[in-house]
Every structure is written in structure tokens, then in C-alpha cells.
């Protein structure tokens, strides 16, 4: 098969849709006014931000007043967790989360732990699902916050968010969900799901980098993370990233207008690829939940090989993939998510994440299927472990 360029790392980041870019352009050029200025010229900027806010609100079934723009998903997570913890210190110091959260959540929790908060890190099962009974048991009268991600960035597992939301609401505990990977892939209704805070980042759904949002349900007590001018109703200071916010608005509108159609198309491609991999490559394990997973997500472990070398070889064939989350790919530790679902170190090391997106085609899938099995085989042939295994020594 002829060499092609195939991007299958959409969970790390996506390209920007042309419509999104087009919506952003005027705010780089003629409408560059500072949204906080009072003259008409800047009112266009202000209006553009409010329109974007309405789009985000609509996508989540929230009110525009409940949407606050941030510098990205990590900021939204940090703000939600630290902001709620500090503002509700008088009510308690206990927070519940899981072992498979993104580092933006985990490190924020670890920080709070250092300064006197108590954190429960819930286990997950072999598919990466939290156990609702365990969650219930973990709740104490000092619990002020439950933060559980909507969908996992590595293995794609989708949590029972509505169920968790119901429990939190009944117990009067604030519920935050990191929905950075979920927006555009899962239908989200913050009212129906009893979500109090929700983080999102534009660059995961074909919007620009450097901009995200935090949904804060009316009435939730939260401190500021960034202090200064009165932007975002005094809750998030700093001159607004005007084109970025406009881009986020357009992107979320596009990403949520036909989630079913998007899912169906992507899932079909994903399953073609996944089935092909499982068929053609022996000693392979699918990580994550077989059904309750993000439509574009594949995460597999190939026994006897190193994910890092696999990535480099795939790249030589024009295929962009990942071993885990992008931000930790520089480190040599195996992924905390794969360890949490019970993979031994050596198997966790041989993992590959392929995340499909809007522009991927059947040709892309078939190309990957024509390349990947050979690469895995080549790497296995270099592996002393594999040799022993074949000889029946292990």
C-alpha cells in the first residue's frame, strides 16, 4: 500500500475546522478591540464573547451565566478543584476522586492533600469503571467535592456520570466532572445529570488551543484561581482570548449538533480498525470498556514490545499515534491509568492509543492495518522475551 499521512491522535489534540478558523479570523484583524473597553468598536468583541457563551451553554443545557472561559482544560480543572476546596473549607476537607483522572485533576488533589485536605482515590475495575457502591461508602459528612472524569483520555472509558451526579446531589456534595474528552462525543446535559462543575477544552473538539471553559452551576461556592480585572464577571481575570473564545463557541456548536451521526461514523471506522488489529495481531489486549467507551478510542497492549519504539516506527510510516496521554509521553513511567486497571508494568509499556477523528477514512484504517501488524512482528522478533515465549520457556 502506498505510504500516507494518517493522524490518529485526536485525543491529544485536533486540527481546527475551517468553519472555526473562519469564525475566528475577524477577531484577529478588524475586530481586535479589548472586550472590556466601553466604546462601540469593542462592543463587537464583547458581543462575540457573549454569543460564544450562549453556544457553550446550549451545548451543555446550562445557562450562559454559568459558563466561564479559561486558558484551557487544565486551568478549568485546577480552578474547579482548588476553588471549591478553598471556598467550602468551613464545611469539610474531604474530596473524592479516582485513580485514573488526568494529571490536571490528580496533581490539584495532591496539592490539596499537602495542605491538609483528605483525598480518597477510588479504584476502578479492569475496564476502568468506578464502582458506585465504593463511591457511596467513601462519602463522609466532611466530603465537600466529588471529582470524577466523564471519559478517560487514555482508555476511553465513560463513567456513569448521571448516577454519580444523582448521589452527589442527594448528599449535598458538589460534583465536578472533567469532560475534556467527552464534549462532542457524548451527550451532556448538566441539569439532567446533576453536574455542578464541568471542564472542557476547545482543542479536543476541533477548536483552538489555549482556551477552555468551566461550567459553574448557579449557587456553587467557588474561589477565584486568577485574580485581577473584572473579566468573566469578576471570576476569571485577564484580557479575554477573544478569537480563541469565538473559536471555542463555533467548535462546540459544530461538535454537538449531530453527536449520534458523528458517533456512528467514527465508531464504524474504529471497529473496523479494532477488529482488524485483534484479528491480525496475536497476544493483544484491548484496554478499557468494550462498549462504554469513546467512539474514536482504541487502546491496546501488545505483549512483548515497547510502545515507544512502536510509535517511532509508526511515525516513519506517516502514522501519528500515542502511547498514552500526550502530556506524560515524555516520561518513562508506565501510565497510571493502565496500572490502575491492573496491567502489569511490562504489558502497560507495550500499549498503543489510536484515536480517530472526523477526517479519518476507511483508507486510513486499511493503511494502518497494512502497516501495524508487520511493525509489531518486527519488534517482537527483536524481543528476548518473545523468543523465550515462542520457545515455550515462559
Amino acid at each position: 500500500m502506498e505510504k500516507r499521512f494518517v493522524y490518529m491522535d485526536h485525543a491529544a489534540t485536533t486540527y481546527v475546522k475551517p468553519e472555526v478558523l473562519e469564525a475566528m479570523m475577524p477577531y484577529f484583524t478588524e475586530n481586535f478591540g479589548n472586550p472590556s473597553s466601553v466604546y462601540t468598536f469593542s462592543r463587537k468583541s464583547k458581543k462575540a464573547i457573549e454569543e460564544a457563551r450562549e453556544k457553550v451553554a446550549k451545548a451543555l443545557n446550562a445557562l450562559p451565566d454559568e459558563i466561564f472561559f479559561t486558558g484551557g482544560g487544565s486551568e478549568a480543572d485546577n480552578w474547579a478543584i482548588k476553588g471549591v476546596a478553598f471556598a467550602n473549607r468551613d464545611k469539610g476537607n474531604h474530596i473524592i476522586t479516582t485513580k485514573i483522572e488526568h494529571h490536571a485533576v490528580l496533581h490539584a488533589c495532591e496539592y490539596l492533600e499537602k495542605i491538609g485536605f483528605e483525598i480518597t482515590y477510588l479504584d476502578v475495575d479492569e475496564y476502568g469503571m468506578v464502582n458506585i457502591d465504593e463511591l457511596k461508602k467513601a462519602i463522609t459528612d466532611r466530603t465537600i467535592l466529588i471529582t470524577i472524569m466523564f471519559a478517560n483520555n487514555e482508555i476511553g472509558t465513560i463513567q456513569p456520570i448521571a448516577e454519580i451526579g444523582k448521589i452527589a446531589r442527594e448528599r449535598g456534595i458538589i460534583f465536578h466532572t472533567d469532560a475534556v474528552q467527552a464534549v462532542g462525543n457524548v451527550k451532556i446535559d448538566v441539569k439532567e445529570m446533576n453536574i455542578d462543575l464541568l471542564s472542557l477544552a476547545a482543542h479536543k473538539f476541533y477548536g483552538p488551543k489555549g482556551v477552555g471553559a468551566l461550567y459553574i452551576r448557579k449557587g456553587v461556592k467557588i474561589d477565584n484561581l486568577i485574580h485581577g480585572g473584572g473579566q468573566e464577571k469578576g471570576k476569571r481575570a485577564g484580557t479575554e482570548n477573544l478569537p480563541g473564545i469565538v473559536g471555542l463557541g463555533k467548535a462546540i456548536e459544530l461538535a454537538t449538533q449531530d453527536i449520534d451521526g458523528h458517533n456512528e461514523r467514527i465508531k464504524k471506522l474504529r471497529d473496523r480498525l479494532l477488529n482488524g488489529i485483534m484479528e491480525k495481531i496475536p497476544y493483544t489486549r484491548l484496554n478499557g470498556h468494550p462498549e462504554k467507551r469513546l467512539p474514536g478510542n482504541i487502546n491496546v497492549s501488545f505483549k512483548f514490545i515497547e510502545g515507544e519504539s512502536l510509535l517511532l516506527l509508526l511515525d516513519q510510516f506517516g502514522i501519528c499515534a500515542s502511547t498514552g496521554s500526550a502530556c506524560s509521553s515524555g516520561s518513562l513511567d508506565p501510565s497510571h491509568v493502565l496500572l490502575a486497571i491492573g496491567l502489569p508494568h511490562e504489558i502497560a509499556h507495550g500499549s498503543l492509543r489510536l484515536t480517530l477523528g472526523d477526517l479519518n477514512t476507511e483508507e486510513d484504517v486499511d493503511y494502518v492495518l497494512s502497516v501495524l501488524p508487520n511493525i509489531v512482528q518486527r519488534l517482537r522478533e527483536m524481543s528476548p522475551l518473545y523468543e523465550k515465549f515462542i520457545k515455550g520457556e515462559i
Partner: protein
């Protein structure tokens, strides 16, 4: 349109927009990814870091990108100060310093606010006398955003270094960099905050200079980007656009400032044709040339602002972020303006993209507007 509000924000250079668009469409990878698109994006970051560093004579690894000047200021203050520490600042800081310090004050940090004189300059004697054993930080804005006063930064550094080994020095240089030549090595400063959209770069991106071997606790934790000081997928288009703006500023700083100086000189000269005017930022070495703050006695600044707007002349009454709360202005009273002068204040802020003819048009419009407005007022 005459845009005289360049201290609020600036129009991005065409080269900046082209770069941003290129990153959004072609180099869209996540810099942390190991594949070619990731590497491509990482290269963009490196280039931008070198360009911003060069503008300050810093090392690239001393530059940390943020979502803007506000986040940079918050990062230094909250990352360094803890309960029991003492910090010295001025009484005319931007809100992003003022409000962050107010928060820290509630948490047990002790704050000294230095007075400023009629030029908006801190009293160096008072600074010296304020330094104590527990002084952890001196944070003073390099250039004020409303009146353009330039602090004697070299003297500040000298005084602090002489009196304390422990105290660190931070300058909010958002209004200074790209306009004043800054050499962090010569200046011997510890931290500097920058923001791209004030130098014809994109909004939503800034940077913090952190002198090598200094450490700060991070405000945003997570994936460990920006050497663990600032987590979150990098805003590659914004950062790369910032790099381009810094590069252009570096190559043109002298000619640009000369042009702005001529505009300010001419503006002040022509203001002499208007009566009852107080110039709050005269043209001297204590004030930056791109900011001209003027009190028009007998009118309300916001009325004048909106009247000018009808002629597509855009100015500001103070800083953009406090524009809506005129009554809360704290900078102008700090330099000794009375209520009437504060009320009538307009800030004209220039860029090299402005022209002398725009001054002529503005003065003409001002003259006719003031005639009407001042009569109405009486």
C-alpha cells in the same frame, strides 16, 4: 478609524495573524506528542521562546508561557508568597497584582503599599525603609498603564539587593516590554511579566521570565508543561504569534518609539490650543512616550469618550479592565489629582501604527466637542 487605545490592546501584525493561522491549520500537533506533528509544534514553541528571550536578553529556558499578563502576575505572587511573608508593592499597580495581593493578604501575607509622587514614581527612601527581614518580594510595575510613569527600576534593584539577600524582585513589564529596551542580565531582576496583545501579538497569551535557578510553586498543576510551572496543552498558535510579535518588536523598537515620541510631542503641542487641560503624563524620561493622560476640566471623561467614538476616535478613560467603574480609579488620585481632574481624564495611547494626521483630526474634534460639552456642563 483612529485607534488611540493601544495600551488596552493592539491590532495584531499581519505577520502574527499569518503565523497563528499557519499553526491552527498546519502545525496543529500537541507539543507533547512524540510523532512528527508533535515535534513540529514543539519547534514552534522553541522558536517563540528564543524570540521572546531575545527581546529581554534572557535565556530561552528562562521564559515560561502563560495565558496572559494577569496569569503571569498571579503565578509569581501566589507561587512565591506564603503566610508570614512580607511583600512591598506600589499603590498604582494593575488589578492583576493588586487583587492577587489582596487575596494573599487575607491569607496572612503582609503587604506594604508604597506611595507615589505627582509623576507616579515610587519613593526610593520609603522603599528602602520598608525592607524587613521577612520581605520576600518587591513587586512594582515597570510602566503604569494609565499614566505611563516609568519606575526607576535600576535603582529599585540596587536598593533591594543592598538591603536583602532574601527579597526577590518582580516587575510587571506588560506595558514596558517591546517599548523600552530591557536587559534582564544587566537589570538583575528575578521575575518579569509580559503579555502579547500589548505588542501587536495575539490575545490570551503572555509569559513570565523567571531568572535561572529560581523556582516558583505552580498555579496550574497537571501534565507538567512549561517545566512543570504551568500545566496545560500549550497555546501553540498564540505562543508562536507572540514570538513573531516579539521578533518584530526587537528589530524595530527604536524606529517605532521614535515615531511614537513624535506623535506624543505633537499631541501635547497641539493641546496647548485647548484651555483648562492638565497633562498627567508629560513628555520626559519619567513617562513613556506611548501614553498620554490628559484631564479635560469641566467635562466627564466617559462623556467625552463616547462623543469621540461618534467620530471613530477610540480612547479610554483609564485602564480597560476598570473602564466600567470610573469611581473606583485609584491611580489618578494617587498622583494627586482632585475629583474634578480625575473625572475629566482621558488616556490616549499610541502605537507606531498611528500617524501625525490622526492627532490633527483628534485635536479638531476635541476642540469642537469641548466647546459644546463644557457649555452644557455649565
Amino acid at each position: 478609524m483612529i485607534y488611540f487605545d493601544n495600551s488596552a490592546t493592539t491590532k495584531p501584525y499581519k505577520e502574527v495573524v499569518d503565523e497563528v493561522v499557519d499553526c491552527l491549520t498546519n502545525s496543529f500537533g500537541n507539543p507533547s506528542s512524540a510523532h512528527r506533528l508533535g515535534i513540529d509544534a514543539e519547534k514552534k514553541l522553541n522558536t517563540a521562546r528564543e524570540r521572546v528571550a531575545k527581546l529581554l536578553n534572557a535565556e530561552p529556558y528562562e521564559i515560561y508561557f502563560t495565558s496572559g499578563g494577569t496569569e503571569a502576575n498571579n503565578t509569581v505572587l501566589k507561587g512565591l508568597l506564603k503566610k508570614g511573608d512580607h511583600v512591598i508593592t506600589s499603590s498604582i499597580e494593575h488589578k492583576s497584582v493588586k487583587e492577587a495581593l489582596k487575596q494573599l493578604e487575607e491569607e496572612g501575607v503582609e503587604v506594604t503599599y508604597l506611595k507615589v509622587d505627582r509623576d507616579g514614581i515610587v519613593d526610593l527612601k520609603e522603599l528602602e525603609n520598608s525592607i524587613k527581614d521577612n520581605t520576600r518580594l518587591v513587586t512594582i510595575m515597570y510602566v503604569n498603564n494609565e499614566i505611563g510613569s516609568i519606575q526607576p527600576v535600576e535603582d529599585i534593584v540596587r536598593i533591594v539587593r543592598n538591603k536583602s539577600k532574601k527579597a526577590r524582585i518582580h516587575f510587571d513589564a506588560v506595558q514596558a516590554f517591546g517599548k523600552i529596551k530591557i536587559d534582564v542580565k544587566k537589570l538583575d531582576v528575578d521575575f518579569l511579566s509580559l503579555s502579547a496583545h500589548k505588542i501587536h501579538g495575539p490575545k490570551g497569551v503572555g509569559a513570565l521570565f523567571v531568572r535561572k535557578d529560581l523556582k516558583l510553586k505552580s498555579l496550574l498543576t497537571g501534565g507538567g508543561q512549561e517545566k512543570d510551572l504551568r500545566s496545560g496543552t500549550e497555546n501553540v498558535p498564540g505562543i508562536s504569534g507572540f514570538g513573531v510579535a516579539a521578533y518584530i518588536a526587537y528589530n524595530h523598537i527604536e524606529e517605532n518609539m521614535k515615531k511614537v515620541k513624535d506623535i506624543k510631542r505633537y499631541f501635547i503641542e497641539r493641546l496647548s490650543e485647548i484651555q483648562d487641560v492638565r497633562i498627567n503624563s508629560p513628555q520626559d524620561d519619567k513617562h513613556i512616550d506611548n501614553i498620554l493622560s490628559v484631564s479635560f476640566l469641566g467635562v466627564r471623561g466617559e462623556v467625552l469618550l463616547h462623543a469621540l467614538e461618534d467620530y471613530e476616535i477610540y480612547v479610554s478613560t483609564g485602564s480597560a479592565c476598570s473602564a466600567k467603574r470610573v469611581g473606583q480609579n485609584y491611580v489618578l488620585p494617587a498622583i494627586g489629582l482632585n475629583q474634578r481632574e480625575v473625572e475629566g481624564t482621558i488616556r490616549f495611547s499610541f502605537s507606531h501604527m498611528n500617524e501625525l494626521e490622526e492627532v490633527d483630526k483628534t485635536i479638531d474634534v476635541l476642540k469642537s466637542l469641548l466647546k459644546i460639552l463644557r457649555r452644557v456642563k455649565k
